[in-house]
Symmetry: C2
């Protein structure tokens, strides 16, 4: 089952270690283990026995996960080792060779190339920068004239930051219900202040993790929330892959979720400060522009000038230590993925160096 290289992940693996100013990370500045354990006032962590634990997560963990949603019960939840694996589980369980899948571009490569590796036809719908990285409803309606097995929505989106407009989602839901099309909603960048698609239709399965908004990528903890019959099928298939997420990740995840307000408040403060720094930078340097999203941690910075994005990214890194994923990793030139996740000072200094790097290559 052949897959091409995952451009953005390979780029991160190859270059992230060199970053002095990491302006492309989509995970809010990571928490330390000790910061998380300090929240464990009931001392849940220290008494763990290192067996498989509850295979699909214990009731207290599921209760904590359900607190992120308006609907659902334990039967609607299962766990995964990260959000990407949660998506993989859904695609492996639902899709067969010959199925048609709708996805969005520029987008996360897995949502195009993974279904293709299963033998699916993928219809990529465009997000339009001139429309604030929104898709066109007419294109969705056209695509859904043929039978579609799955629509994959990443909301907010990586790398564009797209928060899908409500009118579009309402129509998407109506079409999916009419045509019995499943919605895979990757909500890894969702702020729980926003409604999950899985709370709006029985046709949607939401996947997420603690990696981005909760600053806990190190736990490799994700989950799925969706229709009980799908969750049951996924739990059966999961036996061929991971068996369980294990008590260490499970208990640390539960501690995080039971203290989500404090963690989210920290994240929102960091994201907000990053946005302020970006706005000030954009006012000073008209060669750059960006659609700053209302939610999530990702945006897609546009720059003017005839410089390939990979050239700019490598020069910025090698000369100034400023790290970006180039738009080329998303087949979209003249862009750099801009994470809204670092400390304000890092963002301010990094953007100044980015402008210098562009100067170097255009003057």
């Amino acid at each position: 089952m052949k897959l091409p290289k995952f451009e953005v992940e390979q780029w991160m693996t190859n270059y992230e270690g060199k970053a002095v100013y990491n302006l492309t990370d989509t995970c809010v500045s990571p928490l330390k283990l000790q910061e998380l354990l300090a929240m464990d006032t009931d001392h849940l962590f220290q008494d763990l026995t290192l067996d498989y634990g509850a295979i699909t997560g214990d009731p207290m963990l599921k209760k904590a996960l359900l607190s992120l949603y308006q609907t659902g019960s334990e039967a609607n939840i299962t766990t995964a080792q990260g959000c990407l694996q949660a998506s993989e589980m859904v695609m492996n369980t639902v899709l067969e060779a010959g199925d048609t899948v709708i996805s969005y571009v520029p987008g996360y490569q897995a949502f195009i190339d993974y279904p293709r590796s299963i033998g699916c036809k993928v219809i990529p719908l465009r997000l339009y920068e001139e429309d604030g990285w929104q898709p066109k409803l007419a294109e969705l309606e056209e695509a859904m004239k043929e039978p579609v097995k799955m629509i994959i929505v990443n909301n907010p989106s990586n790398p564009t930051g797209t928060v899908f407009e409500d009118a579009y989602l309402s129509r998407l839901i109506a079409l999916s219900e009419k045509n019995h099309t499943m919605i895979l909603s990757d909500e890894i960048y969702r702020d729980p202040a926003c409604r999950s698609l899985s709370d709006r239709t029985e046709n949607a399965v939401s996947v997420s993790s603690l990696s981005k908004m909760y600053s806990l990528a190190g736990l490799r903890f994700g989950w799925l929330k969706g229709p009980a019959d799908l969750i049951e099928k996924i739990n059966e298939r999961r036996d061929y892959s991971i068996i369980s997420t294990g008590p260490v990740a499970d208990i640390l995840a539960r501690i995080a979720l039971e203290n989500k307000d404090a963690i989210l408040q920290r994240s929102r403060t960091i994201i907000s400060a990053c946005k302020d720094a970006v706005r000030e930078f954009l006012e000073r340097d008209p060669r750059f522009s960006v659609v700053l999203p209302d939610y999530g941690t990702v945006s897609f910075l546009r720059y003017e000038g005839n410089v390939p994005s990979e050239t700019l990214a490598l020069h910025a890194l090698n000369r100034y230590g400023v790290f970006f994923v180039p738009g080329s990793c998303f087949a979209c030139e003249n862009h750099l993925r801009l994470g809204l996740t670092c400390r304000e000072e890092t963002m301010r200094k990094g953007l100044v160096h980015l402008a210098q790097a562009l100067d170097d290559l255009t003057q």
Copy 2:
């Protein structure tokens, strides 16, 4: 990509919680987190930052993993979230629809049904109880008259406990090298006192984890050791699935591996005491027999009498709290999977109750 229910895992999930005497678990009696952390004399754990960590494992972790092998360097190692996922990664990376795969029965269902789900033809070679659960060389030679993409060896095997004889393995290696057939060697039950197939041929990739011999299933930590070009391909594909195993699992795994002698000594003592208890039981009750393996934690207990294995397993559990996976989960009646992993007292009492359960159903 349809897969049938994974019989043994579903059985474990459905019934394990009821066990008073768990005589079927294949993981040596689990360690507590505090027991593991007590080995962390360098206080590696407490300083963790919860980012993705080193994507394929850091050099110190890989060094600790390489200590389990006679050959190889960092380029021959990558990490996975458990051994099953490591196998899945190998099969997903190497196999395509139409390939032929050799596997062994009775065996672990994933090694038959997962390749089938990819669209492979699977040739199941039999393990013969009358030969101490060994396969027949002539059948391997016959099967390899056609092009075979992969031979999957589980050594020691679940559920039979088969430790493949050296002469058989030598011939298997020679055939695989002659025919460019990859060997996937699941060595999750290997005692490092035994040589890994990956140390005997460049054609073999070994997968394993800390779940069985190291009593640490709760870490969900596994790894692969094999040819560098395959490991590189797997690392690329891994980006679509897990990204990393994360610093929490990685550091706990490293602590365990750097203290493997103490952990393995504990395991060998437990396994040995279990075997003694089983031998004494067999001398008292001639209705039961078993091939007790030299290594590993698994055996396949045979019983006489016209009682379906599922009936016996359910009665033993419901009436006496004695938990077994029935042979029916491995398509092999008149057997129960017997783990050599529990406390001696549990084994002794559990076996007495098993005999009572068989009495109940046959008298």
